[in-house]
Each structure stands twice: as C-alpha cells, then as structure tokens.
C-alpha cells in the first residue's frame, strides 16, 4: 500500500516544476475533523497532482480557474471539487465503506489489489492490534476472522495459542499455518511436540509466533486457502499468516516518535466450585491425611481432633476459597517507543518494546524485549534496497507444570486439597515440621516442608522452588535488493533468516514429594530457517483491454534444528543445580536438517480491470524424500470477476443498491515432503527403559549401554503428499457499503499423506510408515458487516458477524485399517481417533448400555459398569461465530466482541479429580444420601428392569465416575459463548493538543476473556487444552492452569 502511495506522491511532486499560474491550498479533514495525510490531490484529466502533508494540508499549482480537483485516499470516498475562483479549498472526506481499492500483501511481499484475488483473504490492521495489546498477538485475532480459530491453551504466563485455518489437514501432524514476516517464513515451533512433553508434567512454554510484537506490525493478512502455495511452498497448504512490519512514514517532521504504554491485570477467570461441608477421610470417617472431601461433615467434628499437620485442634473449619486464594493478580506492562521517518530517497523505523508480565500463578513471570529496525534506501532510480532485523529476547521463570503423573502439578495439588486446609497457612509455612516420616539422615528444610499425606506437595513449595525457566534469544530479518531492468521488468533478490536459541531449565528441589532426591533438566534448543529468493517480475499492458503480470522465481529453504537435553538426578547438595552435583546425568542430543529447492511461476491476466485470471506452478525438490522420487510439481488457478465494474449500468448498481460485487474461484494442488530421516531402518541409542510408571531405568546400567531397533518400519517407494482444494466466494456490498457480505465455500482434500500407521505391536513394531489416508475439509465462511446506524453528527454503529462452519472428515485410512489413534490421553483411557467417514473424535470406554441406551447398573453395587470403547464426539466445533459491535462518536470508539463455539467435546481431568475426591460442590448435595442411579439391571433371562439398587455411598458413586474407569461422565459439550473483548478507545481531538508537542494522543481501556456467558463444562474454562500447538488433537484438559480475565488500559501518543 505504501509503496503505491509513495509512487503516487513522487509522481505528484515531480509535477511541481511545471508551468504554474496559480496556487491553491487547503486542508483535507476526516469525518472526525482531523487532518488526513497522504491524500492524493489531482487536477482532473491531467498529471498535475500532489499529496497532503501530515497535518492534512496541501498546496497545488494549477494552470487556470477551470478544472476540478480530485481528492482520493484509501478508505474514503473520492471527492471532486470544481475549482472556480477559490484559492483555498478545504474539504472533509466521507468514509468509503466499499473500499474498492484495498490492497493486500500476498505471497513473497507482493502487493496486489484485493479485487484481483481469486481467493479469500482477511486483514487485520496494526492499529487493531495495539488498541488492546495481548502479549501473544495471535490472541488478538480470535473471533475476528472467518475461518480462523484461535485457542489459547492455558492461563500460563506466555502460554501458547493454537491457530487453525479451515480445519485439520493432516491425520498425523499439526495443521498450524505458515507464518511469514516481510516475505520470510518464521518459526512457530514450541518444542512441546511429544506427548511426554505435554502430558507428563509438561510446561506450556508458548509458541514462537508469540514472539511477534504487536507494535511493530503494520498489517496481518490471513491467506486461508492453498492458493498462495506456489510462492511459499508446501507449508502454505494450511494457510498463511502474512505479516508486514511497519516502515518509516513521511510526516510533518523528519522524525515521528510514537510512544505506547499499556498496563493490564490478569485474574483467573474460573476455578472449580467446591463443597464447603465435608472434611477429608474415607466413607464419612475422618482421616486428617486424606487428600479429599470424603470424611464426615465438618460441623460434626467437634472437640479435640488432629488436623492435617498432626496438631490437635478444637474442631475443623472450612476454607472454601482455597483455589481462588492460591492464584494472584498478574500484572502486565507493555511500553514501546518507535522512531520513524521517510524521504523520497528512503525510509527508516526503529522500534523498541518492553513487556513485563507476572502471571496468576505465584512467582511466574515473563519479560520480553523487542528491537526492530527496518530501513529502505533508493540507491538509484532503478535500484532500491531494504534491510530489516528484529531481535527478541524473552525470559520467563516459574511457568507451572500441567498434565499428570508428577507431583508438581499445581491444579492437581489444588484439586486434592481438603476443604479444612487453610491455604494461607500453607503459604506461610513452607517449612513447618513435617507430619510424615522422613528417611534417616534428612534434616533441616528437607524434613520440614508441609505436605498433606506424603504424596502431595505444598503448592507454595512447588511455586517457590520447583521452577521452570527459559530464555529465548531470537533474530529474524532479511535484506532485499530490487532492480528495475526496464520500467516493466524488475528483478528482486531476497535473503532472510530466522534463528533462535532457547535455554530451558526445570528444577525440582530435594525434598519434593515424588522426587525426593531432587533433579533438574537442562534443555538447549537451536533452530534456524534460511530462505533465499530470486524473482523476476514482468508487468505489461498488452493492449487497452489486457494487462499481463508474470513472476518467475527460484527459492531455497533450509531448516535446521539442534537440541541437547541433560537430565540430572539425585542432588548431593540441596538447591545446587550443577551437573557435578548430580549423582546421575543422562544426556541426549538431536540434530535435523532439511533442504528444499523450488522454482515457481505466477502469471496473471487482467481484462479491463474487472476480470482477473491467475495461474501458478511450482516444482520442489526436497531432501527428505527418496532421491529418485523427490521432485514434485503443483499448480493452481484462480479467477476473480468484479461484476459491478463489468456492468456499471445495471439498475441496482447505478442506484447504489449493489455497490460492489466480486465473484471468485480458485483451484490449487499442493505437494509436500515429510520429516527428515524417515527412510532407513535405524538403531537408536537408548537413554532409558521405561514402563507405565515414571521411574525409568537409565543407561548405562551396570556399565552397559543399549540400543534398540526402530519401532517404525521405514517406508518403501514413498511419494510426496498431496492436497487439492477449491473454493468459491463472493464479496458483496450494498447501499454504499452499509451492508456487506463476504462468503466462501471451500473444499480441501489431502491424500497420499505420509503417516506412521499403527500395526499390531506383536509384529515387533508399533507402526509402519507409508503413503495413506485421505482427509477432507469443506466449509463455509461468511462475514457479514452492517452499519445499522449512522448519523451526520458522526455517531456510528457497526456490527460484524464472522461465521465459520467446517466439516472435517477422514475419508480413508490404509486398507484394512479401521482407525488411527492420533493422540492418546495416556493413562486415562481417552483417545483422539481418526476413523474413515468420521472426523477426529474423542473415544474411550463408555458405560455399558442396554439396546435402548439406558445405562446398565451392577445389581450388587448399584454402580455403572464400564463397557466397550465408544465415540464421545468430535474434537472440533460444528461452527463458530464471532460478533463484533463497534460504536464510534467523535473519536470515541467502543467495541465488544462475543465469541460463540457450538459443538465438539472436551474431556476434563480436573473435573474428574475434584469430583472423584469429593471436593466438587455437586458431591455434597442432598447430605450425601445414597440414591438410585437411573438405569437398568439385566435380568437372568437377558431382559432389563429399572434399577432398584441404591449406591452404597456417594463416595463410591463419584469414584466410579472417575476418568480411569470411564471418561464418559467427564466429557462435556464444548459449546460456549464468551465475552472475548471489550474495548474503549478515545483519540483526543487534534484541537485540544495543537498547542502541545504531541501529534496525537489516544487512550484505551480494554478487557479480554471477560465472561463465560454460557458453557456446558463445569468447573473449568471450556477452551483449555493440554496438547498445546505441536500435537494434533484438542479437547483434552489435564490439570491446566485456569485462563485469565484481563483488564487494562492503554496510552498512545506521538510527537
């Protein structure tokens, strides 16, 4: 956009030297009465023109009185003013809701007019991102773009957010889109992509796209289909998020200074509702050391009794707010400053942002410093250059563990905390005398941490000492050189890279229950992506009707990962985390590299500026495929037709009923490679032998090291994976833009996927790798925008509805294979399964039912009986809807966003635990009177009679509903309605600050994730998911940190 603008401006300026007879000056203002910079002012029918300055003023020399000045600017209606005798012409522009000339940055930093595009693109302007700043910029997209689903994975400070565009494209790997910044792909890895990483005491370490700094972003374009793949390569098949960073802008001064400060607070949105009546114990008998609520009524325990510490107290007391009181208010401060400027010879921008955040888990914090430099220089008339560098340093400390199977998991500890325990006492007594027997020779702090029953740690002990910390140093950027060989032929070269090192350390202090000897894990990660492009662009008018634009290019892409881990166990000295202090150090390392060469072409034909045809083709050679089959070609074609420009004389068009209509269609095929090193039969050096428990045997043992042959049979005759997709869409605007509809129907088919298909383990192997499987997505995206209300005084109400329905279907698996287990909720009997003809579903053992669907009750116990494995529901929603309302009046902007999800299921381990432990509110109803569970009993003759056997106790009833027996009662409809965001922004009128050094001042108030308006999941935020961004599958919650409700304010000013 700016490039085009700049060109026009340059054009305009070059006209100044011509014969002048008189000067006209004036000011162009917005409907809000503020000066608009950069407006094109052109004498109609000539090349004479100029652009307005930063304050909206302009001066233009025109030959005589005759003529008309044309004022045009993106976002406003073009205005024609007859000059006549005037020497001053002030004009107020009217907002243009039709936005005919919107431009979009598409593949490889190529700027296109939106109307040319035969595929769906959505744009979020940088201004939107800085009004309500979320530390993870992805979260700002939630609910705003049709077809894009953002889900925040946990309430961990700096936690990750999953992005999915138009549904899952792969049976076996994650379908995250490609992120591209200024033409260079950047990493969105999280290095949390194995099940053991996330399920067993995993830490949500965030995803690398979270490093993007909202203040440096000019626009974010979401390319939803595969149409951009020719230029980005196969990774674009899951969609692309194209980010253009800010550049220097020409303003009234040589240097523009922008300062933006935000302050926000975070509080946990939702914690489980607990019962307040019952103490810990078993079947109503008090046991001070039980981690549950199955004891007697608290009110019935009077007189001297031992409390959980073993001290004698007079009766017990309930502390119902333990969960809430554990979490603290998190604070976030984001301060950014940027300097920028531009001349017709070049531009520059320098930005610095500091983010300091503390989380809701005590002691968790995140700091991020971002430096951004972007500068362009016009070396000669034909040669221009640009370079940009971003440096991000992120440090965090105290991120909590989630998942299961370790004793450090905060949510699990809290879920087992008896109501009679005062959490404040735990906070203030990390080192009180222990109630537990301790191993001989243990003294001091080791022997004195308060715990509950020898199993659970004091949660404050965990947050104080068992800390996860990481540091990420990341640089991404690039440089480009562009040469205009002729006015219609340009050659551009670009080199870009993104690399980072991440150092992680997770320490567990000696004395921690479950890890009594202490341990620490050190993890160093290096990832680098390098990409070079050389491309030639031809742009020629063939004749008056036809214009041709062609791009031919070559691309090289290399990705390397290096990782080393060291697990150090058995500390000699408490809290000394050095390798030499550990009795055992088990190192492991990993390296991978993959290269791709690609050549591509992109050819467009433009007929009379209303019919656009585009064809692309690309051939890749990948290092990861068999040498004799590593080349693959993939084409695409798209067409765009602007109906209103083709038929301007139609009645409805003339009368502005149908102001704009564009139809688009596209087809694309994308081939892709696979992960490196999957082709040979290999032997892996083993670091440990393991079983289902968490204490593994480490090698070497007795001096012996060990190897194991691969458990995945390597493929023979591997072919590249394929995706075919098409989409049809229409963009319609009515009544001058007061009503708009942009809708798309799409269908994507992925086939020949390279997957490790599980084979019976009795073969000696757990999987065989081969080309199989088809998975399809079809769906509808619609964005409806309405301006129901608009007054001359400037009041305006806009509403936008973003609707998305995606139907994901596994079309086929390998011959003979009835299902494919993608992610198992190991240990809880819950599986995320792909079955032909169905979508990804959560499965597990269900209750045994009679043919009518009634639950069959065990006649001796009165309890439900586990039956065969069944499908509980899809992990994906049926549809999602974002409703955004915005009201503006004289510089005040009020905005609220409601997010609706319908369908899909979620399994919650937290719910299972609080219920199974008798702590959830619902376990205390009706004074725990045993009741008859509705169901049937099987008669001897095979018929059924209604259940007449009451459960022996409420404790047995809820224990039977535990996840490990059957997840059925902990699986819930994932539908919800959320008030996602409320925002008030106010731009101080220019007149107020004209005497001050400030150019503009904007204030904002914001709230995010404010209110779960409705949800069918008890106790937790229905959005929680333990799997993070690296694994396929959603809908599994395992001891997640509750999500945050955020409230804050923002102050932004320029000099």
């Amino acid at each position: 956009m700016k490039r085009r603008l700049l060109l026009l401006m340059l054009l305009g300026m070059s006209m100044l030297g011509r014969a002048q007879t008189r000067t006209i000056s004036g000011k162009v203002t917005s409907p809000e009465n503020e000066g608009v910079p950069g407006v094109n002012v052109l004498l109609k029918g000539t090349n004479v023109g100029t652009a307005t300055k930063a304050d909206g003023t302009y001066q233009i020399s025109v030959p005589d009185k005759a003529g008309t000045l044309v004022f045009s600017f993106i976002g406003y209606k073009t205005a024609d003013v007859t000059i006549g005798n005037q020497s001053t012409i002030n004009i107020q522009l009217e907002a243009d809701l039709v936005n005919l000339n919107e431009v979009v940055v598409t593949a490889n930093a190529i700027v296109r007019e939106k109307k040319e595009l035969g595929y769906a693109v959505s744009t979020i302007g940088g201004a939107e991102l800085v009004k309500a700043r979320d530390p993870n910029v992805l979260n700002s997209m939630a609910g705003r773009i049709a077809g894009v689903r953002i889900s925040q994975q946990s309430g961990t400070v700096g936690g990750s957010s999953r992005v999915m565009i138009r549904g899952a494209n792969s049976i076996s790997s994650s379908s995250e889109p490609l992120f591209v910044v200024d033409g260079i792909p950047i990493s969105n890895s999280s290095f949390n992509n194995s099940e053991t990483d996330v399920v067993t005491g995993g830490v949500d370490v965030g995803n690398r796209a979270g490093d993007l700094n909202p203040d440096d972003i000019e626009t974010m374009n979401v390319l939803k289909g595969a149409a951009a793949s020719a230029l980005y390569g196969s990774r674009a098949r899951n969609g692309v998020i194209v980010i253009t960073t800010k550049r220097g802008k020409q303003g009234a001064k040589k240097m523009n200074v922008t300062v933006n400060s935000s302050y926000r607070t975070d509080n946990v949105l939702r914690v489980p509702e607990l019962q307040t009546e019952y103490a810990q114990g078993n079947l109503g008998v008090y046991n001070p050391q039980s981690g549950n609520g199955w004891g007697p009524k608290i009110s019935s325990v009077t007189g001297p009794v031992k409390d959980y510490k073993g001290e004698t107290v007079q009766g017990l007391q309930a502390y119902p707010q333990n969960w809430k009181n554990f979490f603290v208010t998190g604070h976030t401060m984001i301060n950014s400053v940027s300097l920028d400027g531009a001349t017709d010879q070049g531009d520059y921008r320098i930005g610095y942002t500091n983010l300091r955040q503390t989380g809701t888990v005590p002691g968790s914090e995140l700091n991020r410093n971002t430096f951004a430099i972007n500068a362009g220089k016009k070396i000669t008339d034909k040669l221009t250059s640009r370079a940009w560098v971003n440096y991000v340093r992120t440090t965090s400390d105290g991120r909590p563990q989630q998942g299961s199977n370790t004793t450090n998991i905060i949510a699990t500890i809290l879920a087992g905390l008896p109501v009679t325990v005062d959490i404040n006492e735990l906070r203030n007594n990390l080192f009180a005398p222990s109630t537990q027997a301790v191993p001989a020779g243990w003294t001091g702090d080791l022997a004195r941490s308060i715990d509950l029953n020898g199993v659970q740690n004091n949660p404050y002990f965990v947050t104080a000492f068992n800390r996860f910390s990481n540091t990420v140093d990341r640089v991404y950027g690039g440089t480009s050189l562009s040469y205009d060989v002729t006015p219609w032929f340009n050659v551009t070269g670009r080199v870009g890279t993104d690399f980072f090192t991440e150092n992680r350390r997770a320490v567990t202090r000696k004395g921690t229950r479950g890890r009594l000897n202490g341990q620490f894990e050190t993890n160093d990660i290096f990832e680098r992506e390098l990409q070079t492009d050389i491309l030639g662009t031809i742009s020629r008018k063939i004749n008056t009707n036809w214009t041709f634009k062609g791009i031919v290019g070559h691309q090289f892409n290399q990705r390397t990962i290096r990782r080393s881990r060291l697990l150090s166990e058995g500390l000699n000295i408490d809290q000394l985390y050095t390798f030499a202090n550990a009795q055992s150090n088990v190192p492991s390392n990993f390296f991978s590299r993959r290269d791709i060469f690609g050549v591509y072409g992109d050819f467009s034909f433009d007929y009379k500026n209303y019919l656009f045809l585009n064809v692309t083709g690309r051939n890749d050679w990948s290092s990861t495929l068999p040498v004799n089959n590593n080349s693959y070609f993939y084409p695409s074609a798209s067409v765009s037709f602007v109906l209103t420009e083709a038929f301007p004389n139609l009645g409805i068009v003339k009368n502005d009923i149908l102001s704009y209509a564009k139809l688009r269609a596209n087809y694309a095929n994308v081939g892709s490679d696979e992960d490196p090193y999957q082709l040979s039969f290999t032997y892996n050096p083993l670091t440990q032998a393991s079983d289902i428990y968490t204490f593994n045997i480490l090698y070497p043992i007795g001096g012996a090291s060990a190897f194991g042959a691969t458990n995945i049979l390597p493929p023979t005759n591997l072919r590249p994976q394929q995706q075919t997709s098409y989409e049809f869409g229409a963009e319609l605007k009515f009544f001058g833009g007061r009503l708009g509809l942009d809708m798309t129907y799409y269908k994507t088919l992925n086939y020949d996927q390279i997957i490790s298909i599980a084979i019976p383990q009795t073969t000696g192997y757990s999987a065989r790798r081969l080309n199989v499987g088809e998975i399809s997505n079809r769906g509808l995206e619609a964005m409806l925008t309405v301006t129901p209300f608009k007054t001359r005084s400037g009041f305006r109400w806009d509403a936008a509805f973003n609707f998305n329905r995606n139907i994901n279907r596994v079309e086929s698996l390998a011959p003979g294979l009835t299902e494919f287990i993608t992610t198992s909720g190991d240990g809880f009997g819950i599986f995320v399964v792909a079955r032909p003809g169905e979508t990804f579903s959560i499965q597990g053992v269900g209750w045994l039912r009679d043919p009518q669907g009634n639950i069959i009750i065990n006649p001796t116990t009165g309890l439900r009986t586990p039956g065969p494995r069944k499908v509980f529901g899809s992990i994906y929603p049926d549809w999602t809807l974002g409703i955004n309302n915005s009201f503006s009046y004289k510089g005040i902007d009020f905005n609220f966003l409601v997010d609706v999800r319908k369908g899909g299921v979620i399994n919650s381990q937290t719910v299972s635990i609080v219920r199974g432990s008798g702590l959830a509110a619902e376990t205390a109803i009706d004074n725990r009177t045993p009741f008859i569970d509705p169901g049937v009993i099987r008669n001897a003759d095979g018929t059924f009679r209604p259940n007449d056997k009451p459960v022996a106790s409420i404790q047995q009833y809820w224990s039977q509903l535990d996840n490990s027996v059957s997840p059925e009662n902990n699986i819930f409809d994932g539908s919800y309605t959320k008030l996602r965001e409320v925002r008030i922004a106010y731009n101080l009128p220019k007149s107020w600050i004209s005497k001050t050094p400030f150019g503009s001042i904007a204030l904002g108030l914001e709230g995010r994730n404010l209110w779960i308006i409705s949800s069918k999941v008890p106790h937790i935020d229905p959005e929680a998911n333990v799997l993070g961004t690296g694994l396929i599958g959603e809908g599994l919650e395992r001891g997640s940190i509750p999500s945050s409700r955020t409230v804050g304010g923002n102050l932004r000013f320029t000099f």
Partner: protein, 470 residues
C-alpha cells in the same frame, strides 16, 4: 536477460536434486549395531517390566499382596488398566530387538553362536512368560516385521516352541568361545556355562507348567533331572542386578521412594498368604511383613483383597523393597523345589524320601535368602512333614508359593497349576466387586492389539482357564 535468468535458475535447481547428498542421512541414529547393545536393552526392558509394571497388579490380582485401597481397590478386582505397556513392549522392545540381534549375529563372519544362543534363551523366557499371562499369543509370526497381522498360536504350541528354542540355544552354546559378555550380558557376564544351566532350568519350569495338560512332559522332566546341568547353587541363579544409584535402583524401591518418601505404605499383608503362614507356624512372617505404624510390635494385621487399610495394617517388609535387590528370574530354591516335585510325582527316581530331602533343601535356601536365621530355618525345615503320596501336592505347593512371594508372575503360574480349579494352594476366593465369578486365570488382550489385529481371539473372560491350567 530474462531467458538467461530463467536458464540460470533452472540450472541451479535441476543440478541440486540431492543425488549424492548426505543431508538425509540421520545423524541421530545408526544403520548398524553390535548385537550386544541390543541384548542389554532387551534384558533391561524385560527385567523392568517383570519387576515393576507386571509386579503390582499381578501381586494384587493374585492376592499375594493386598492393596488396602491405597491406590484404589480396582486392581484387586481384576482391573488391568495398569498393565498397559507390558504386552507391547515385550514384543517391540524385547522380542523384536532379540530377533534383530540374532539376525545380525548370524550374518557376521564368523557367526557369533553364543550370542545367538543367549538371545534365543531370553526370547524363550519372554515368550513363555507372555503366554502364561495371556494364553494364546503370536509366536511363529511375531516380532519380525514380516507379517502385518500375526496369528495367535495355541498356548501348547507356544510353550513347545519355547522348548525348541531352548534346545536350539543349548545346541549352539560353545563354552570355548565368547558370546555377549560383560557389561552387556547383565545376567551372567558372558558365562556360557551358567547360560546353559539356566536354559535347562527354564526348560524344566516350562515343562512343569505344561505337564498337567500334557502328561507326556513328565518324561521330559525326568530326562532333564537325570541330565543335570541345571542351576545347582545360588551362584547360578538368573538375576538382573539393580544398584543404589539414581536411575538404576530397583523400581520397587523407587516407587516407595518417589511416592511415599521412602516409607512403605502401599503394599499390604494379604490374608490368604498370612493365614497360610500362620497355619504353618512359619517364621517368615516378620520377614515378609512389617507391622502398621500404629500396630504393636509383632502385631500383624492382614487385609482381605478389597479391605481398606488402616494405620494398623501390616505391610510388605521394606527389606524386600531395597534399591539394590536384584530382579530374580530363576532362583536356586525354585530349582530345588522343582526337583522335589519331579521326584515326588515320579518323573524322576528316588521316591518320597529323596523328594522330602530336596524340598527341605529348597525351603532352606528360600528362607536363608530371605534373611531368616539359620537356627530358625533349620528348626522349621526339620519340622516340615515328610512328603507322602497323600500330602505332597499340598505341602510342596505351599512351599513353592511362599518361595515365590516377591515374584508374582511365577507365583501366579504356580497358584494356577497347584490344583484343579477351586482347589488351588493356598485357597483364595473371588474378591467382592470382581466382574467374574471365578478367580482370575488370564489377562485380557490389550485394546491396541484387539483394535489392530483381526486375529486376536475374542470371547474370553478373566476366569476362562488357559490350556495349561488344569
């Protein structure tokens, strides 16, 4: 110009097709390996499964220990969700790697016959164990990656197959050559004479599991006893050693150390075993158990299978859960008791007097290994009734079961073969809340296998007897 660039681009691309590239050669893994390294991995994994994952659920199901409800009562009620990885890992991490090791050893010149023999012996052990847990299992088509849906061989065929494997192995053993040696032979440090003894003893153990259903095996047992060359001292015992170092400790200790701060509070004294000990006036009670924290010294309160613990309940003695205790795969006392049985049942000559002597020797070794004093041991052993045609089944079975107190896998086999259904020694009853009427007699196939292998047998219940179980 344009053509030139295009040509250049194409030239760059087409010449760079990774033809002679080593980019895709995995730097993290190897394409060749010494079989010794596969052997140490397979043995460690096998031992870990035996001593950990397969120990607790089976000890609880078989009422060898009691759970007290500390981890829920479901395992005593035959819930086997905690036996989750043993089936798969036995095939993928133990048997497959042994198969691959054999293949490599056979393709090396000269062929490392002893290495092949060692792998085959361990393989026979693993197959026999898996069959005695699950019944019919993949054997002939298993663990070689060649058949996608391995068929389930009949238990009889599997057990006969393991005997054939052992015979092959014994035939390959060359005492003058080296096989897999220390440190990778974690059992015998490369001592092939001991491997041969173990192979013969294992063969006898497998034959004993079969003999009730296939009486012809009695003769084979007789031949083995006559041939000798079996485990004949404690030094011959087949042991996998653990060490008191982090990550190398016996997992039975780690469990208590990790979850309970080193204070045993999970495994309780089970009533059927305790009652047996009391009836025998057995001095092993304080060696098997320790009193609950609130119990009087020497007050041992046993728990039924679904009884919830109290602070007075007696526990499995912490001395049996030490970090450096080995996993016992075959003990000398076990050997002696088998020989006693062979003689008593007439498979081997000598009559009841010789059988009694062998039994007393076996019980003596068993008790000394437990740490019982020599005086107590000798007194108890001397008081053991002499074996007769009427008492030998019970008396021997009682001692054999007690001998296997910390070895639930073998203990469960012993219990099932100790008598006809309902007549096992010691007597046990189905726990309340169990899904079947009878005692558990088999594990059910894992859902992973059921879902992926159409050959998996169906229609079996937990109390359906296996072929051997007569």
């Amino acid at each position: 110009m344009k053509k030139l660039i295009l040509a250049a681009l194409l030239a760059i691309s087409t010449t760079a097709c990774f033809k002679d590239s080593n980019i895709n050669i995995d730097p993290n893994r190897s394409t060749s390996v010494d079989p010794a390294l596969l052997f140490s991995g397979a043995s460690t994994q096998f031992s870990l499964l035996r001593v950990a994952e397969l120990t607790w659920p089976i000890a609880l199901m078989n009422q060898m220990w009691a759970s007290g409800g500390r981890w829920g009562l479901s395992q005593s009620q035959y819930d086997q969700t905690r036996i989750r990885s043993a089936w798969g890992r036995t095939y993928t991490d133990v048997l497959k790697n042994l198969n691959v090791a054999i293949e490599i050893a056979q393709n090396t010149q000269p062929v490392n016959k002893n290495a092949v023999a060692q792998c085959k012996i361990l393989m026979a052990f693993a197959y026999a164990q898996t069959s005695l847990l699950w019944g019919d299992i993949p054997f002939t088509e298993a663990a070689n990656g060649k058949v996608d849906f391995p068929k389930f061989d009949k238990q009889q065929d599997v057990l006969n197959g393991t005997i054939a494997l052992l015979d092959e192995a014994i035939g390959l053993i060359d005492l003058n050559a080296k096989g897999i040696i220390a440190p990778n032979d974690l059992y015998y440090g490369g001592d092939m004479a001991k491997w041969r003894k173990f192979a013969n003893s294992l063969k006898m153990r497998i034959l004993f599991s079969m003999v009730d259903s296939d009486p012809t095996k009695g003769a084979a047992i007789g031949q083995l006893v006559a041939g000798g060359n079996m485990i004949s001292s404690n030094a011959d015992a087949m042991l996998y050693k653990y060490y008191n170092q982090p990550g190398r400790q016996n997992p039975r200790f780690s469990f208590t150390a990790i979850f309970r701060g080193g204070v045993q509070s999970d495994w309780y004294c089970s009533k059927p075993v305790y009652d047996l000990l009391v009836s025998l006036k057995d001095p092993r009670i304080p060696y098997f158990y320790q009193p609950g924290t609130d119990a009087a010294p020497n007050e041992f309160i046993a728990l039924g299978p679904v009884e919830v613990y109290t602070t007075k309940s007696a526990l499995v003695n912490m001395n049996l859960l030490k970090p450096d205790l080995p996993e016992v795969s075959f003990s000398y006392s076990e050997q002696l008791l088998f020989e006693a049985e062979a003689i008593a049942r007439g498979f081997a000559p000598g009559g009841f007097e010789a059988a009694t002597t062998k039994m007393r020797a076996g019980v003596r070794e068993s008790m000394l290994a437990l740490g019982v004093t020599a005086a107590q041991t000798d007194a108890y052993v001397a008081a053991l009734p002499a074996l007769t045609a009427t008492n030998y089944k019970t008396v021997l079975a009682q001692q054999q079961y007690l001998d296997l107190f910390m070895r639930p896998i073998e203990g469960w086999v012993q219990h099932r073969r100790s008598g006809t259904i309902g007549q096992e020694v010691p007597a046990m009853t189905t726990p309340t809340g169990a899904p079947v009427a009878g005692l558990i007699r088999r594990l059910l196939y894992r859902s992973e296998e059921v879902n992926s292998n159409p050959n998996t047998p169906s229609g079996l219940t937990l109390d359906t007897p296996q072929w051997f179980d007569k």
